[in-house]
């Protein structure tokens, strides 16, 4: 930097965060200013504000291909962080639309503010290049999410979900932080991009790095709900308000992957064989466990929770195929997975509002009660199962292709076998929706306007991603290239 302390690039680098912060302030003010009857519109304000932010960001704040370190090297202004920031904003805006017509959720400004603050933390996670910033960003994301999971104060399940999420989250983040403290001690720097050089210069024993990396991976595995730190996910997703469960399983998980990609690639290149070895094992265990346990579920949200654990395993396959194609496929996977899983949780939220239950059996006859909702569930579930022509097929293909490209045939085979197990339980749900009859068939399931809009956008997105592959893949490629 020459002369002045601040320059325009610094503010462009944190444009998404600034925008979200301003929006959160606006929502707080509007909650005070508007009469209670109009609080419903806060959801629209949040959603439209975020979409507007994405639009403005695309016009003014696109990073150049040459990445820059700004704010005293705390933030890296690059396309990887930018792609993820826009993804989180989009996910948050869809979640706001799903929440806006839920009685105890959508009419409260503090709900939207907490969600926005959490999104702000995710954006920082994706662009942090310093472990101090990284820790602060992870906690900025997590702490509002603990509150959101326990947002229904008079509901036993919701408070329990928040409670469990907090206890596991606090413990794993403390373990991760202990790893960070050793990392600082070993390298003498907190900057991720200097870390690798320092480690080389100090000639550290790889065993020290193995230990430190093990501690750090505990925290990351919790965020992406990978084996053996996956067990909180089913409980929390079941108890938390449904749109928040969707947000947790998509945006929060994608943020975890963004951090994982950056920290391991940039900070630990010398011990790459070690973490590839560990993460391959984690990937196999995660997808197998997620899929097998999903087979036995009777509750829709629990089923989706186990399915989301399995999907973390698939995405890890692309990651351990350490190559440009691998990272690209992970980003692409996360984008499509965000669209698909938000749609799945969105349909469950709409149905749950009418029926009061998320048991899979209660979905019987949905195709007659609300054909459009059933179609949207069909799109979401088939895409989750990885069927063409939906986005889920293309991304699974990309991930497996990346693995095969690097000679990881065994991993790809396990992945394909797991997809077949997955197909079974996704189709079981669709069977209940389309073939089973129920006594309440004449009771229609009304789909509120906001949810309908969000679901339509998400489903069209899922189909478009499956048919027009190139744009999505190229965006992911831009993000992946920015890593170096």
């Amino acid at each position: 930097m020459n002369g002045s302390v601040f320059n325009v690039t610094m503010f462009l680098a944190i444009f998404p965060e600034l925008w979200i912060f301003a929006l959160a302030t606006l929502v707080l003010i509007l909650e005070l200013a508007l009469p209670k009857a109009q609080h419903r519109s806060l959801g629209w304000v949040t959603a439209i504000g975020l979409l507007l932010g994405i639009g403005v960001g695309l016009v003014v704040a696109v990073p150049s291909p040459q990445a820059q370190l700004v704010w005293g090297d705390l933030i890296r202004f690059d396309r990887l962080g930018f792609v993820f920031s826009l993804l989180f904003m989009f996910g948050a805006s869809m979640t706001a639309l799903f929440s806006s017509n839920l009685e105890k959720l959508g009419q409260r400004g503090d709900f939207y503010v907490l969600m926005l603050v959490s999104t702000l933390g995710m954006c920082l996670m994706a662009s942090a290049s310093d472990i101090i910033m990284l820790y602060l960003a992870i906690e900025t994301t997590s702490i509002p999410l603990y509150i959101l999971a326990g947002f229904y104060k008079d509901d036993e399940k919701s408070t329990e979900a928040g409670f469990k999420y907090l206890l596991f989250g606090a413990m794993t983040s403390a373990v991760m932080l202990f790893g960070f403290s050793y990392l600082y001690g070993l390298a003498g720097t907190t900057n991720l991009y200097e870390l690798a050089n320092q480690v080389l210069r100090n000639q550290l024993s790889p065993f020290l790095l193995y230990g430190v990396l093990g501690l750090i991976l505990v925290g990351f595995a919790f965020k992406i709900s990978a084996f053996p730190f996956h067990f909180w996910a089913p409980d929390v997703y079941t108890g938390a308000p449904t749109p928040i469960a969707g947000f947790l399983s998509t945006a929060s998980k994608a943020a975890g992957f963004a951090v994982l990609v950056r920290v391991l690639w940039v900070g630990f290149p010398e011990v790459q064989p070690y973490w590839v070895y560990i993460l391959s094992g984690v990937s196999i265990a995660t997808m197998t466990l997620g899929n097998l346990l999903a087979l036995a579920q009777r509750d829709m949200k629990r089923l989706l929770a186990y399915s989301s654990i399995a999907h973390a395993g698939y995405a890890l396959i692309g990651f351990v195929a350490v190559s440009e194609l691998g990272i690209t496929s992970v980003i692409f996977y996360l984008v499509v997975y965000l669209l698909t899983n938000l749609a799945a949780f969105g349909t469950v939220a709409v149905f749950e509002k009418t029926s009061g239950s998320s048991e899979i059996a209660s979905f019987a006859g949905l195709s007659r009660r609300s054909p459009w909702l059933a179609i949207m569930m069909l799109v979401a579930f088939l895409s989750l199962a990885g069927m063409p022509p939906f986005g889920g097929f293309v991304t699974k293909f990309a991930v497996f292709a990346a693995a095969v490209d690097r000679g990881l045939i065994g991993l790809a085979v396990v992945g394909v076998l797991n997809s077949i197990v997955g197909l079974y339980y996704y189709l079981t749900v669709l069977k209940v929706i389309y073939l089973y009859r129920s006594e309440e068939e004449h009771v229609a399931v009304p789909v509120p306007q906001a949810s309908l809009l969000a679901l339509a956008v998400l489903c069209i997105g899922v189909i478009a991603m499956g048919i027009f592959i190139a744009p999505g893949f190229n965006i992911a490629l831009l993000g992946a290239r920015a890593l170096w």
Binding site: I132, L136, F163, K164, A174, V175, F178, S181, T190, D235
Partner: protein
């Protein structure tokens, strides 16, 4: 001067005690106290490394300040959630809070 390794051994012991507390205690407040011990071990580590290895660079101190600010907010949220659970069930025993399973 006290050698660096003494601080590191102390921090590792503190961390282990905290982790043991988190894993073995049933009472939610005791679990949160265990987490606090773990975070304090991190701070001891950070400050020892800062003082012995890079005293001219403030990063370690700043990191420690941020850690205890975050720890305070985490506990504030944690106790709030514990209270909301207690109001529903009249209990803060982690093993009795088991509505969600399977």
């Amino acid at each position: 001067m006290i050698p660096l390794s003494w601080y590191l051994i102390f921090a590792a012991a503190l961390f282990s005690i905290g982790l043991f507390g988190v894993l073995s205690r049933k009472n939610a407040v005791a679990i949160l106290m265990g987490v606090e011990l773990m975070l304090n071990a991190v701070n001891v580590n950070l400050l020892a490394f800062w003082r012995y290895l890079a005293p001219e660079n403030m990063a370690g101190q700043v990191f420690a300040v941020i850690v205890f600010a975050v720890a305070a907010s985490e506990v504030a949220v944690g106790l709030a959630l514990v209270i909301s659970v207690y109001r529903r069930r009249q209990s803060v025993q982690a093993d009795e809070i088991n509505l969600l399973k399977y």
